[in-house]
């Protein structure tokens, strides 16, 4: 089973082969998924293409779905790091904008883009995809709270801010996928955030003057 490094030494043949096998499975799976769809691809198809036994697949990935989402953990980790890196005196709003923009830009070229459509047309994957956003939101909320010194009273506030921002990220990702990116990711992100804050202010004012 998956065990880790014995010492902190360099990667031995064992580790290397294992990583290579993992990549071979991932590659084979993705190719087949994109080519003939997620459900229409069986584990056996994948293991055959990757030339490993059917049983071994589960030694590398806990489930078929995980192959698709494995790479996405990286995004959440980067975002956390980006948040933590913002100066403490910066407002939460400024910090998320900067952190998300930076993380998105740093991640925009990854295979994830091609996956969007696959996920979108596969119900089981769609559910898992949403879960990913939920986890991201929770992590973001924690990171934001930490910046505030962990004050428990700030928690609901940061939860809501996280929900708003991740919501915007989700909507933004959708818009991005729909139209061919005629602008740079930077400009796109900037635009999205500008719109978002403007809307927030409007909605807020609207509620303020209401009743």
């Amino acid at each position: 089973m998956a065990k880790n490094k014995r010492a902190e030494t360099t990667e031995g043949r064992r580790e290397r082969k294992r990583r290579q096998t993992r990549e071979r499975i991932e590659q084979a799976a993705m190719t087949l998924f994109l080519q003939r769809g997620f459900e229409a691809t069986t584990i056996e198809d994948i293991t055959e293409a990757a030339d490993v036994s059917k049983r071994s697949f589960f030694d590398y990935f806990p489930s078929k779905e995980e192959v698709v989402f494995a790479w996405q953990d990286a995004f959440a980790d980067r975002l956390m790091a980006a948040i933590a890196a913002r100066p403490a005196k910066e407002t939460s709003v400024a910090a998320v904008e900067a952190a998300i923009t930076a993380t998105v830009i740093a991640s925009v070229d990854e295979p994830g883009l091609a996956l969007g459509e696959l996920i979108h047309r596969t119900p089981a994957l769609k559910a898992r995809d949403q879960l990913k956003y939920a986890k991201l939101e929770q992590k973001l909320a924690e990171a934001l709270l930490l910046r505030k010194g962990g004050d428990p009273l700030e928690r609901p506030r940061m939860r809501v801010l996280a929900a708003i921002v991740i919501g915007a990220l989700r909507v933004g990702a959708e818009l991005w996928q729909q139209r061919p990116p005629s602008v740079s990711p930077q400009d796109f992100a900037r635009e999205i955030f500008a719109d978002l804050w403007k809307m927030l202010a409007e909605f807020g004012d609207e509620a303020k003057t209401r009743r």
Copy 2:
């Protein structure tokens, strides 16, 4: 298979028995799920308890998960209706608040409350649960857009408003589940929304005066 009424006449013996069977399955499933967990309950356990054949289960529900989430469609439909019922001259912000509050209040006594914990501790259900919110959000966005006469330029705006409000609903539902409801649902909803709009205004102002 599931066919509908032949004419608009009253419910015959056939329809009635079918509905009863469906309820029996649902009841048996829920009892077992809550009692021994989702994964630990097999379809056979359920059908045995409900006294139908294993095969028949799938004549009533497309999957094990659907039993859990079937009732939730009702919420989305009610919310849509509530939005549509708001006067057209009302602002979007005022309309969602009123509609959501009314719908939540009308739905708060349903079995859903007991399910929260079950869903929370079952990964597969958690994913599906998030998908539910996503769908709700989309429907809400459509309903809001419709109120605006369907102007395509308003779409992203309404998508974001929907994301924000559903985000607040999600966070609110979580808070509600955590602490014993010491206040009425009405007051709780009012409070949540008041906080939300206040936060929006603050975040908006903060962004406005920034840079």
